[in-house]
Every structure is written in C-alpha cells, then in structure tokens.
C-alpha cells in the first residue's frame, strides 16, 4: 500500500492539493495554508489547514491540508468548526472596559479604542508599580493558548517574576518535563511515531515500536502535549501492540493486550513493581545500564520493596497482569511509553515520572528508533528564559515560592500556584494588586483547584485585572476590568512547535487568512505593550516580526520566508548521548550532574527529596483515610478528554456542544442501581471540599468504586451576571474543581490530586439538560 504523509494514498483521491503553495486560488476563493494554533486553544500539533476566503474577505470553508506530514489532511471537530468559532455571535472583537466596582455585572461594559486600552494599561500598571513594586503584578496563565507560552510578558513587559500557571502543583506537563530534566537532562521523552521523517513509518532506519504503553494518557481525543493521537492508530494498524494504564476502560484499552485498570493515584506502586519484575527476571539492557546510567543497584534494592503481589493489593490490578505487562514491555524491541497527565495530577507524580523514565532506561529504549525520542543539548525550555534577564535580580528573587520550591520555580520560571493563591488571600509576603490573564479561564474547572477561593481572593486583592480573549468567560466576567480582543488563529501569524517544543519534530507556521475585528495575537500584544511599558528592552525589535524572529527562530529565519514553507519537519538523530550531543559541554553521556541517566537522582536529592522512587498513597483514599469512607465512599477521578472540547473551550460552538451537551459523570451501572441513579439523571457529587451537579452516564468504563467527572464546564448560554445563583454563566453549577483541595503537592512542589480523590454521589430530582435548540438559536447564526 502507498502512504502519503502518514495516511493511505487512496484517502486523498485523484484531485487533491498536494504541492500547492502557501497561498493559491481555487476558483473565486483564495486558499491560505496554515498550521493554526491558539485560539481556539489546543495542544500544539501543528495540524494542517486550508482556509478558504471569498472576495469579501470572509472565511467560508476550512479543510485539512493534505500537505501536513503528520496529519495528512485529517482534522478533529475543533478545527473543522473553526469558522463557527471565528464568526460566533458571542465573539468579542473590540476592547471594552468596566469600572472595577462593577465586576460581575454583565451590562456595565463599554466599548473603547485600542489607544484608550493601552493608555489604561500603562496608567494602571504604573500606578501599581509605583505604590507596591513590580512584583505586585501577577500573570494568570492557562494552557493550550499562546498566552501560556509568552513568558517574556512577565519579566520583560510587566517586569514581574510572578508569571503563574494557576493549577495547584502545576499539575500539567511541567512536572514531567522537570523530572526528565533532572533525571536525564532532556525535556521530554516522546514516543517515536516517525513524525520527523519524510517517509514516515517507511523511512529507512526507523523501526516501528513493537509495544507502546499508554500510561495515564488517552491520546485520541486531545492530542496531548502535541502528540498526534491518531498516530497510535497508524502504528497499531502496522502492528504495534498496546498496554494501557488507566482506571477507565477506554476504547483503546479494549484493543490492548493488557488493560491495567488501577485504582486512581496508585500508579507509582504499579511502576515500581514492573521495574522489579524486569530487574529480578533479568530482562534489562545490561550495556546501557552499565555504561550510561547511575545508581542501578540502589534502584534494584528500592523497587524490591514493591513486589507485584504488594502492588496488586494497592492498585487492584491482577498480579498476573503486572507480571505479564512488565515482561511484554521489556521483551518488545523497541518499545515506547507515552506518559500522560495522570503523572502530574498526583502528589506522588515526581516519583511516578522517575519510575517511568527508569522503565525506558532499563529496557534500553531511550534515544533509539521506535523507542523514546529526546531533544539534544540546547533544546526544549530555552523560550522559558527569554526576556528573564530584562528584570533586575532583586526583583527576580521575589518570585513567590522561589525559596520554598526551587525545583519548581527555577525549572519553569513560574511562581508557585498554591502559594500565589495564599498570597492573594493574605497579602504576604507582599500584596498582589494587578492581574493579567494569559489565556486562562481558571474559574471554569480548568486549571485551578478551589476556584471559588481564587474568585474571592482575586476580587479582594486585585485593584485591576485584564484579560485578552475571544469570548467573555465566567472568569473575565467575574474578575476583569478590561477585556482585550484576541485574534483567532485565522486572523494572526505565529508559530507552533509540536510537543510544545520540548522534543519537536515539526514546526508549523500559523498564517493569517482574514481580518476580522480588532483582535491582536498574544505575540503582538506582548510586543506592543512591551514597547509602551518597557521601551528600553523592546526598542531592539523594530517590529513584531523581529520579535518573532528572535523568540521563535533564534534570529536565524525571517517570518516572511517561513510563512511560505507553512511548516517543516525536523530530522532527528538517535543515540545522541553516544556522540556528545546531549550535553552542554559536548562530552559523552547525558546532561546530568553525573553525566549519566540517573536512577539515583542527585538532583532530587539536592532538592530535599528522596533520590529514589517511593510510593505514597493519595492524600485522600480508601487506604490513606479509611475514616472518610463512610461519608465519601467513592474514588473520584476527573478530566477525561472528549473530542468536542479543549478544557473550557468550544462550549459555544453548536456542532461541538451537540456531541456532548451536558457535563457528564461516569458511574458503573451496578453502583448506579444501588444508589437509585438512572442513566441520564442529574446527580450531586460532593466531598469535604465542595460540591457540584452533573448528569449521570452509566457505563462499565468505570468500576463500582470509581466515578469519573468531566472538567472545564461553564454555560455560555446562561445568565452572565453575578446575580445568577449559579454564578456568571452557571460557572459553579458543574464545577468539579470545587472538589479538588488546595495545596496537596509533592515534596518538590509538583503535582496535585486532581485525578485521585474521594467523593459521594446522590440522585437529584431537578433536570438541567441543555436545550440544543437554544444553543443553535444563540450561537448558530454566524455574524458573517
């Protein structure tokens, strides 16, 4: 069979657009090829799009671009509906302001010009800086939007060290990146789906993974971290076999050789036991361990304390499956592990991440074809530090959490999320007075634990708060005083590196196809505000392209050239540690203190944590807190992904919403029967921290002791005003993060129990079903 860009050649047909330039004519329409990213927010894959624009300049059609080497024209619903996002009647396309005394009052906004908006920004920032110092400015960053990668916005524009991803314990991706940096000196070990090669899976020198473990990762709906999820299907069609580690019976789990359905949050016990099987049965790679690793004996001794029999008791996974899966993974050559968010959403996650890296290392799967690909020296997190030196050291040292959690704050140059909330509440060690949302809707059960606490603290502490967004969110409605319009991806220029640039195999160019409204991109706004607030630093860029060139291309390429290429693959090298390409000093080995992959982590040790992995029960669990079981007898896991939504986005897109109209909690049919809950019935879910309402979906995807609740819910069709008893846009109605506690993080500051809690559930008489006709009436009639 012939393949084009990863898919069957026959899927494209005789008439296709292979080989077309970045912009071309198709009849009366102008087509712009683009790799769009943000907004709508998503993981950065760099999927290819063809944007069809008519003579009036209106985007009339969106199709997948078959030239994209990884996706080959395939698209998910969130970009197929891009037109419905851009021209959505609820889109905000002009700046607007509101007097801070009217926060939460939806009718008090007034439209202003960008000039007025910039003047307001400058005067409010200057006022706060003069009175409280630059550190009293805090940025609330979210995920999947360019704003969350616009690090210079903190240090180089506002001059504050308090750039803060607001999720407790930074429970998303960064714990994995940081752990990998400590243990092997590279940012992220991605599975090898041949994304770097022109001929993809048929490239000479590539070897198909015989086995992939999906560890706490369901890659199909969300393309997590920029891994094109359906590449797994491409691989499985060619013969890759699967092991899944997931409490849920996902669709992929039903296709796996081993579906290890563990109790949520007990992953580290399972990983230690698998290591023990591989080591004790001599299934490990002797040469790799002897010459390229450090601390193997100590690791062997440590994991011997977690035999599979003990792990089976803790995790609930049958002991023979632990043995079977460990043997299968170790014998496969090569094999990969795709690790997911479950590693981060667990206070024991740093240890879990360490174990998973150890599994890759003991089996000799690091930096080999079909194993794990890693970036070389000088790759990965550099953009994190961009602009940092523009800030005086004494200001930088005031970053919230720097002293308490250096492993966290230094690795990602982010203020510690939990400590920022406490600082907002207590004004200690200093007050936070000015807030800026960098692509965040934190009140809507996305990236904050205890969102009501954040809500109250922000209202109390912040004199002024600003957002740059496409839609009015409940977070902005409740807390912001200035709303700035953000350009949607077809309205802006930019870049997108897959895998968040940590282990990139593709760099895509976001090309502008249309003008609509007054939106600015995060990059543009950063540059223009920088010129006004910190001209000394920003005058070196003559225009925004010069800034993009420096930030994204290391000054080696012009955007004018790049846009025509639309994107390019990055050929990768394997076995780089054997050629000196993994270390800053050019010597052989890995970029760690010992120069080796560290089973015994000298950096974990230097941060005050155990250098070896250990198992910790989740803070609230049947084994850790049995006394709570009478009140909260069920294990709650949250946040399983859907095709319809990226976190809190896409709820106002009718064709997305129609796929998942209501917030769902999955419950086992037997448990539901015992509790008198019918399929589709609304229920209340609660625990010692909070409560919310959702709609029951009866399914054996969860077992009888576990609930899985969706996250990210708000209701753009609902009353936007604070007088709404359920909050702005019903933000408190189905807010599962209200049940997630504050500040239960790991020793180094990473990880929080978003996926492993206790809760109870009861049926409700009320019905809160979404009326899809109402959604269609409100959001289906596009404004162009």
């Amino acid at each position: 069979m012939n393949y084009v860009n990863g898919r069957q050649a026959t899927s494209l047909g005789e008439t296709n657009d292979l080989g077309k330039p970045w912009r071309y004519k198709d009849g009366d329409l102008t087509v712009t090829r683009s790799c769009p990213w943000s907004p709508p927010g998503c993981h950065p894959v760099g999927c290819g799009l063809k944007l069809y624009v008519d003579k009036e300049g209106t985007l009339v059609k969106v199709e997948g671009d078959e030239n994209q080497p990884i996706t080959g024209g395939r698209l998910c619903v969130r970009c197929i509906t891009l037109k419905d996002y851009v021209y959505n009647p609820s889109r905000i396309i002009h700046p607007q302001k509101r007097d801070p005394q009217f926060r939460g009052q939806a009718d008090k906004w007034e439209q202003i010009t960008w000039d007025e908006a910039f003047d307001l920004m400058v005067s409010e920032v200057t006022k706060v800086k003069e009175k409280y110092g630059p550190e009293s400015i805090v940025l609330f960053t979210g995920t999947g939007r360019e704003g969350g990668t616009m690090k210079p916005m903190g240090a180089a524009v506002f001059g504050t060290p308090n750039y803060c991803y607001t999720q407790s314990g930074y429970a998303c991706y960064a714990p994995r990146l940081a752990g990998t940096s400590y243990v092997m000196g590279a940012p992220d070990p991605e599975i090898d789906y041949a994304a770097a090669f022109k001929n993809r899976y048929d490239e000479e020198g590539y070897v198909l993974s015989e086995c992939v473990i999906l560890w706490g990762k369901d890659p199909l709906p969300s393309n997590p971290d920029g891994l094109f999820g359906h590449a797994l299907i491409d691989m499985m069609k060619r013969g890759t076999r699967l092991i899944t580690v997931d409490p849920r019976l996902t669709w992929l789990a039903t296709k796996a050789d081993y579906a290890l359905r563990l109790r949520p949050g007990t992953d580290t016990a399972l990983a230690m036991a698998m290591l023990h099987v591989i080591i004790s049965e001599d299934l490990y790679d002797h040469d790799f361990i002897e010459y390229w690793t450090y601390g193997f004996e100590e690791l062997a001794e440590r994991v011997a304390t977690m035999p599979p029999e003990k792990a089976a008791e803790i995790t609930g996974v049958p002991v023979e499956d632990i043995y079977g899966a460990a043997r299968m993974y170790a014998r496969a050559a090569p094999a990969g592990i795709a690790w997911g968010l479950a590693v981060d959403q667990n206070p024991n996650g740093s240890q879990l991440g360490h174990c998973i890296l150890d599994l890759m290392a003991v089996t000799g799967n690091i930096d080999v074809p079909g194993g794990q690909i890693i970036g070389g020296a000088g790759e990965g997190q550099q953009e994190t530090g961009f602009g940092w030196s523009a800030m005086p050291t004494e200001t930088a040292d005031k970053m919230i959490g720097l002293k308490e959690f250096p492993a966290y704050c230094n690795a990602i140059l982010d203020a510690h999320a939990d400590m920022v909330l406490e600082t907002l509440e207590t004004e200690k060690p200093y007050p936070l007075r000015f807030g800026y949302y960098a692509g965040n809707n934190l009140l809507a059960a996305t990236c904050a634990a205890q969102p009501k606490r954040w809500h109250d603290a922000m209202l109390k502490s912040l004199d002024y708060c600003v957002t740059l967004d496409c839609f009015m969110t409940p977070s902005a409605q409740a807390t912001c005083d200035l709303f700035l319009p953000l350009a949607a991806s077809p309205e802006r220029e930019g870049t997108v590196a897959n895998h968040y640039g940590a282990t990139p195999t593709f760099l895509g160019i976001t090309n502008k196809a249309i003008d609509f409204g007054e939106g600015k991109s995060d990059t543009e706004f950063c540059y223009e505000l920088g010129k006004r607030l910190n001209p000394k630093v920003w005058s070196k860029y003559e225009d925004v392209y010069a800034y993009i060139k420096a930030l994204r291309f290391g000054n080696k390429k012009d955007f004018a050239t790049a846009r025509k290429e639309v994107g390019w693959q990055r050929e990768i090298e394997y076995h780089k540690f054997e050629t000196g390409k993994c270390r800053q000093d050019g010597k052989l080995g890995f970029n760690t203190p010992t120069g080796r992959f560290e089973f015994y982590s000298t950096l974990f040790q230097s941060f005050g944590d155990d250098p070896l992995p250990y198992y910790l029960e989740p803070p609230y669990s049947p084994q850790k807190t049995p006394e709570l079981l009478e009140k909260y007898p069920l294990v709650l896991t949250t946040g399983a992904r859907t095709y319809a939504f990226f976190h809190s986005e896409n709820r106002q897109i009718p064709f997305c919403r129609e796929l998942n109209p209501d917030p769902l909690v999955e419950i086992n049919p037997a448990l539901a029967h015992r509790l008198g809950i019918a399929d589709g019935q609304w229920v209340r879910i609660w625990n010692q921290f909070g409560s919310c309402k959702m709609k029951a979906k009866l399914t054996i995807a969860v077992d009888e002791r576990t609930l899985m609740a969706q996250h990210g819910w708000w209701f753009p069709e609902a009353d936007p005003d604070k007088t709404n008893p359920e909050g702005e846009y019903n933000v408190w109605l189905a807010n599962i993060n209200e049940l997630v506690p504050h500040f239960h993080v790991g020793k180094m500051g990473w990880g929080a129990p978003f996926k492993c809690l206790l809760a109870n559930i009861e049926p409700l008489n009320e019905n809160y079903d979404t009326d899809m006709q109402e959604i269609w009436e409100k959001f289906g009639k596009l404004v162009r």
Binding site: N2, V4, N5, A9, L12, L18, N67, Q68, Y182, K198, N199, E210, C211, D257, D285, D287, E290, Y291, W292, M328, R331, A332, A333, P334, G364, V368, G376, G378, E379, Q382, E383, G385, F386, S389, A390, A396, A411, L413, P504, A550, R552, G554, N555, K556, V566, W568, R570, E571, H575, E578, Q584, D585, L588, G589, N591, T592, P593, T594, G595, R596
Partner: protein, 178 residues
Amino acid sequence: MTVYGLLVDYEWCTGCQSCEVSCKEEHGYPVGKWGIRVLEDGPWEIDDTQANWNKIPVPSDLCDLCANRTAQGRQPICVHHCLADVLQYGPVEELVKRFEEKPKQALFVPQFKPKEARGAFVSKNRAAGKVASFAAVAVEANTDFDIAGHRRPDEEVEADMAVSVILTDSIKTRSEDE
C-alpha cells in the same frame, strides 16, 4: 481462502431484534453479551415531511458467523430468523456484487474475539536479534552543571534556540508513488 461476510439491507431492517435473540439462543450468550446488535439512528426530522430512522444490525466481536451451522451448509441463525429478510451470508466476492442492485446496504466481515485471534505478544525483532546496542564507554561527570541554565541573557538563549530551529527541510510534497 474464501472470506465470508454478512450483507445487510438496512433500508428494510425493522429493528425486530430476532437476529440478536436468536444469536443468544444459538451461542448460549447470557444477558449483557451479544453476537449481533441492532444500532439505531433516529428518529430525527429531515424536514417537515420526512424523518430519518435507520436500524442497522452490526455483528459484534462475538460473531463467528455461526461456524457450526455454516459447516453443515446451513445459514447463520440471524439470517435464518430475520423477519424482514435483510441479512445475507456468503463469500464476500459474491456479496459485493449485490451492492449494485440497490442503495442502503452494508457489508460486514466480523472478527471473532480479535484479542485471541491476534495471539500473545512475541517480539519478532528480538527473535531476529534486531535489538539496539550501546557503546561501552566511560562517561565523565558534568563539572559545570547548571540547573537554572535558562536564566541567561537573551542573546545566549537565542543562540541556543537556533539549534532547535532546524532550517533545512521544508515540507517537500511527495507523489503518491513515493
């Protein structure tokens, strides 16, 4: 080897579920397990005058196309009992010809217990000795290791980033033959 399948004329499937129940009786499948299921799309309105409502029998991963019956020359039990007479069993080669007779048909080639059919995992590469090997070299410690290496002037950061922006290969589109 001849491949056999099940042809469904879903224009006329009424959703009587005789296929489902006769299959259970034939195979002894209990409540909760099925060899075939009738999936349903509808009713929803196409316009004021017509509605969409299709019922489509789909064989499950427990369908063996009634291997015991067909070995004796009998039809699968679902075919035998189908009230609307919309199921046909036979060699795929012959069934596909019937697609030209009328619209609203689907052809299924089921796989009985795919996990068992696949068999237990055996590493072909390991059996063939195709396993990554690693050099035997003494690695030196990293003397000037710096955990906060990214807290540097932008010029240095830019220089490093240039490494990660590989400028060589723009997408070169390939012909289908390549």
